[in-house]
Symmetry: C2
Subunit: 413 residues, 2 copies
């Protein structure tokens, strides 16, 4: 593990520095070279960067998740001066033409990558999927109305609980007694005739399950929490009325929530909703009723640009299939490993497993860390190991993990 950032003194603000020092404070370090003031190392103004991109670990965390280094670098370069505007990336008004260009670009890319129909709305909000659990029901569900949920994990359960503050939410299917190992096939549940919509979670981050098909909704509108596989798996937007997703897995940093609404969903709003919880507020102002997470939207645009440059949605899906295949092949290769999810429900985004000898799991995690791999500890509800393989996770990280698994098994198997 590399040594930590070193702080070298605490000089005054930049304007108080001698010229020689100022000239050196305007750039960004490359590596291992401290910025020095005229009178030597001990008066360095800036933290010395002796750990940088070259010391990044293979990051399998479930989110906020790894991003392409290419994007990270681009963002770092934009921080002091966004797109040559003279305003720093974090320091530009959301009312400026420079930022309007950014949010327009991000929305355009989102529409392009996901083939979002022209009459759908795209919003960039705050508060995460957890806020959408309530907000979707508040806007879409009649007071006391029925809504059905496919409960494939804890997130769906939470969405159902919030909907029950508005109406009559019901689990059309609930796999909790089976450890949430699978998603339902179409014949395994039924949607009520009076349901106003069917809600499902396209990918379950905790349990490593994922829908591979468009769930039957008995002709009712579909609402989907796509937080952990948006832009990384197939999604027919036109077959959904509302899609929401926290950005921090496939799209960017935490603090941005993407919401996509069909004309039907956009028209459902009731009178008198709290301003910030009313989709119409944000639709009418292009997601800038109040100050949005400007930085997060910039990063999201850069991530989407990266997706475009690398084969678009199909390219992302192919990479995610390849990556998850590498790990599932390992898991299926011997009884040393015990994959959690049922074969037909296996997620490309989050691969979850136990070791047959559970006492080896902590050893596995510790040795993985020693080998520069992090974020592998399974969620407490499953235990064991979880490898999250979102869009930003490079194939080489997954290859390194697969090699390590083979080597670990050969020693402990």
């Amino acid at each position: 593990m590399p040594s930590r950032v070193q702080k070298c003194g605490s000089a005054g603000p930049p304007e108080a520095l001698p010229d020689l020092c100022e000239a050196q404070t305007t750039g960004l370090t490359t590596r291992n070279e401290p910025y020095c003031c005229s009178d030597g190392l001990k008066d360095c103004l800036w933290p010395r960067v002796d750990v940088g991109a070259e010391s990044r670990i293979h990051n399998f965390g479930a989110g906020p998740a790894v991003l392409p280094l290419e994007v990270v670098t681009e963002v770092a370069e934009s921080l002091p001066n966004m797109n040559g505007s003279g305003f720093g990336l974090m320091e530009v008004s959301h009312r400026s033409p420079a930022f309007q260009e950014v949010i327009d670009s991000a929305m355009g890319r989102m529409r392009g990558i996901l083939s979002i129909p022209d009459d759908y709305e795209v919003l960039f909000l705050q508060g995460g999927a957890s806020t959408q659990f309530y907000m979707t029901a508040l806007n879409l569900l009649s007071n006391g109305g029925a809504a059905d949920f496919l409960v494939t994990g804890i997130w769906a359960k939470k969405a159902l609980a919030e909907a029950n503050r508005i109406g009559d939410g019901r689990a059309a299917w609930d796999d909790s007694s089976n450890g949430f190992k699978s998603v339902p096939g179409d014949g395994e549940y039924s949607v009520r005739d009076d349901a106003e919509y069917l809600h499902y979670t396209s990918n379950n981050t905790l349990f490593g399950t994922q829908f591979k098909h468009l769930p039957d909704s008995n002709g009712k509108p579909r609402v989907v929490d796509a937080s952990s596989d948006i832009c990384g798996a197939h999604l027919d937007v036109s077959k959904h009325e509302l899609i929401y997703a926290g950005a921090q897995k496939n799209l960017g940093p935490s603090g941005v929530t993407v919401v996509i609404l069909s004309p039907w969903a956009a028209s459902r709003g009731k009178e008198g909703l709290p301003t910030m919880l009313d989709y119409q507020t944000h639709i009418s102002k292009g997601s800038m009723f109040n100050t949005p997470n400007t930085y997060g939207i910039f990063v999201l645009d850069r991530v989407l640009s990266w997706v475009e440059r690398n084969g678009g949605l199909e390219g992302a899906i192919q990479r995610n299939q390849k990556k998850s295949g590498l790990i599932y092949d390992m898991l299926d290769g011997s009884d040393f490993w015990k994959p959690h999810a049922g074969v037909g429900s296996r997620s490309m985004m989050n691969v979850t497993w136990r070791l047959a000898d559970e006492s080896l799991e902590d050893v596995f995690l510790a040795e993985a860390a020693d080998n520069g791999m992090g974020g592998l500890k399974g969620h407490r509800s499953v235990g064991g190991i979880r490898a999250s393989l979102y869009n930003g996770c490079p194939v080489e990280s997954v290859e390194a993990l697969a090699s390590f698994m083979a080597e670990f098994e050969s020693r402990h198997g």
Copy 2:
């Protein structure tokens, strides 16, 4: 104006690059030196940074606002690898010890700088002050209960409107007919005996007014929207029951909202509130019930560290007094300028004015831009000019503006 970032081709993901190129893609550029792949400039992978920190303008925007360049640089350096953890700053789990350290640090600094009593809670939420307009009332105000508001501008008016969804909000004072030129003195309004609290806005960003005193509340709890002067002006936390502030003016980027609650405020929550709108949800989980804006909290911690290193709250106040004094002195020097705010209500954070000859205002803005000064256009509700001088705005920017004003007046006066 510098030229824009140049994109040089769109090569594949890093793992596909030749070794020579990979070695060059791990760092951050300093200036004007493109990263080149082995086969020449036209195959550069990374955007060429030919505009950077040295081309930053003097940024007087009202928010998201200018940050200390020192902080911007530190953040950029942390992006690929946060505090030597091996995880990028945007890519670290909120459940990790590495991030727990960051949020603990930010909360500790917040407590220290503002002398927050130990039994108060500090939260880092999302959604901005606009979400707090509703959330404060939802949590604090009895259904149908009375709350009084000092309406010193549009933000207070919006807060009042949201409170009226819960109870009986009333403007104890409203200066809209006078163009919001001042804040009230204690004798100019009365708070109802049955009011459950008094709400005020400590600084009005649009109109450039600011409370210089703790408003009388008839013994009722005080709730304050301190978005635009928190940590930049005096604030006796112990005399308030709830304080909220969007971060994007004095504290960091947009997308983080600081909420400070007294034991009384923390205990007011009702049963059955929507989970994400219930302060108890966030108190009980240390602001990590769901994924917070991890990046924004990191930046906030770095900004607060910068405040500490530069004299703490008192240092910030002194600089803000000095900066605003430079501009108010100019405005008071001749009839060429027409300051908006009443003398006793003048804000240190946002200075607002018109030109006696309003037809010169566009000329002023255009010439200011030509001289490397941006964000000076007044809000449409006041018109004219607004210079926002938050903590991150360096004295040298304000000196440059004052010099430009003197020179402009000498040519056009």
